[in-house]
Amino acid sequence: MLRKSTLLLLAVLLVVGIFAPAALAQEEKITITVLNYFDLTAPGAERELEEVWREFSRRNPHIIVEREDLFLEAFHQKVEAYAAADRLPDVVFMWPGGRSTSLHTLGLVKDLRPLLGDDAQYFNPAVLAPQAAGYLAELPSTMTSSHALYINVPLLESLGLSIPETYEELVAMVPVIKGAGLDVILMGAQEDWVIQSCLFSMIVGRLVGDEKLHEIIRGEAKFTDPEFVNALEFYAQMYKDGVLDRKIMNINYSEVNGLFASGRAPFMIDGDWKTANFLTDVTTGEALIPVDQQPNFKMTIFPAIPGEITKKSSSGVVGTGYGMSSKIPDGSPKEAAAWELIKWLQSKEVQTMRLETAGTIPSRIDVTSDNIEPLVVERIRYYDDIEVYTEVLDNVLEGEVYLPLNVGLQEIGLGLATPMEVAERVQEALEAWRAKRQ
């Protein structure tokens, strides 16, 4: 017969044996907060939730992801609020510069290069270049061209026209297109960043060039120099020639999708990311441009501009990605968990899914897929048209410098300011910013 004390010991061991592993497992759980940039209305949104986020949780049951999804201005506002309150989430969606500049320059996120280690071999070396503050603050998911000329080919051909090679050819088409009751070029330019990012950056690349632009930023030249003013004058000329219409400044960024898909104009200018809005939504099976009609749409670069010094160029930037809060201690389990998530978000599986749903050009060199729609194929092919990438202005200028430019571009379009006035305001803003830094 067992003694009482032995029985008691056995009972204790039994209890410990049952509950201890569970308790230990409980302790190992790590919570990661994430601020995610996500358009819940985009086709493929459900697939992203399932195949990216839920799949990560299934694969990593010890990591609890507390995710906050926001889009457009709501996202930027939240990031600024978190940064100001010094409470940045553990993992945050970021740009390589531009709207995320303060995260880079204030050192709010870590350098990811040491964590990437040998996995760097799977990425295109161009996307791992140092970013706004001279280090790899986010692991980019893609390369992106902020400018693309979208063409509704059958509509253009129905007017007896073909894809223009030069700006003069485009101008010659204006009476024909307007005569048919159509607009020439659509842009969803109600928000002021659109013209600067998707059109004017390309014009600056062509007429000013990156070398001169960087001289201006360094203070060795000025925005009021003839090259930059010429770029603004060319942009103003586009309204005078009827290529652009003031109407674009009242078209909402998402409203333009339906207008272009329904044939309101043969051309549209936007970033190459816009293709994602036309693809099939897997949850509904519907698409703004159905798969059988997608081959009718082409993407190319803007025609040759008179006096351009850079030929066949487009403005481009390495893409967005996820950064890690610098508050996470080095070598901690939390850092390992956050890095696991960032690595997963740029994994072969996820980039393949993004290529299929949004046509996102992968930053990895090992991603391919046979399951992509014609418009995605066209987006990939479009990159063959680009011979030179030039800077996107809001990626290389500080917010207080590009803000007067963004508003100034709308003012030029509305006839409220001259190109020289806008150039002077931008130069003034640059000098004020430089003075503040010193």
Binding site: Q77, S102, Q190, M249, E400, L414
Partner: protein
């Protein structure tokens, strides 16, 4: 001690118990942020820790001067003035007129009209803004409608810098008139019907009933409505943001949007944004005092 015990009566305890929570909440969410905002507007704070940050310095009224020198501030202020005008001189008279017509049963189906006029108030402002933005869009139904009368008509309303605010003003009038109608309707029902009947028996016309009985009796309510309209106009944000985002070229911006853009867009400037909010509070305060003075000077007595 005795004096303290004498002071600490049950009445005082009950008073403190009832008033203190409200006062504390008011100080925490209203008074303290306002005072704190005033302080922040006079510093060079630009992100990071606020308390104990050695880099924060007092800069005086620098940000206020910058604000007054910014032309987008004046554009926003002008637009707020227009919204205030349409609220005080549009929504309130119209709201009163509808309430009067319904209350005096000058039309049939009063309940139906009451519901229809009030309905926009219960719809989300963002939804309303997006719907009307589509309606007034150069590609929207309004353009199509006008083109049926005048083929080739160009809808410049939405992008002509001088006219771009007009659709916003129209929607504000459409959306909030119902709110004032309900306020007036509720107060009209409080007026003793025998007063009106007596006036009618004495031979008063409908106009005389309106101007000699109804309006004087409602002067206090009109002041309240004006205060609501002024404060509502100064904080206009959501509808303008949804309809135009303040564009084209910031020509439809309002102070709240100007403050938002300064605080959260492109390069955040928190002290400047706080200067704008302090200015809005002061302006609101001055305007409400003016309304009070006007009411004291010209208003009737509410029975």
């Amino acid at each position: 001690m005795k004096r303290l015990l004498a002071w600490w009566t049950e009445e005082r305890r009950a008073y403190l118990l009832l008033v203190l929570p409200g006062v504390l909440v008011y100080w925490a969410v209203m008074a303290f942020p306002t005072v704190f905002s005033l302080g922040l507007s006079m510093t060079n704070y630009n992100g990071g820790v606020i308390f104990g940050n050695p880099n924060i310095q007092f800069v005086g009224l620098r940000h206020y001067l910058r604000m007054f020198n910014d032309r987008y501030f004046w554009i926003s202020l002008k637009n707020n003035g227009l919204i205030m005008a349409i609220s005080v001189f549009g929504q309130i008279p119209l709201g009163f007129l509808f309430a009067y017509v319904i209350h005096r049963k000058l039309i049939k189906f009063g309940d139906f009209f009451q519901t229809i006029i009030y309905l926009p108030c219960v719809i989300s402002t963002i939804v309303v803004g997006r719907l009307w933005q589509s309606f007034f869009s150069p590609y929207g139904p309004f353009t199509k409608f006008m083109q049926t009368f005048q083929p080739g008509w160009e809808n410049e309303l939405a992008y002509d810098p001088q006219k771009a605010i007009l659709p916003v003003l129209f929607v504000i009038l459409w959306m909030y008139t119902g709110q004032y109608m309900i306020i007036f309707l509720a107060n009209l029902q409080k007026i003793d019907p025998s007063l009106i009947e007596a006036a009618r028996i004495d031979g008063a016309s409908e106009w005389q009933v309106l101007t000699r009985i109804m309006l004087p009796a409602l002067s206090g309510v009109i002041v309240t409505a004006c205060i609501l309209a002024i404060s509502g106009s100064l904080k206009s944000f959501d509808l303008v943001y949804a309809m135009t985002a303040g564009n084209p070229a910031r020509r439809t911006s309002v102070l709240a949007l100007y403050m938002y853009d300064t605080a959260f867009k492109h390069s955040p400037n928190y002290p400047l944004a706080n200067s704008i909010s302090v200015f809005m509070v002061l302006l609101s305060f001055i305007l409400i005092v003016l309304v009070r003075i006007t009411e004291a000077r010209f208003g009737g007595r509410e029975e």
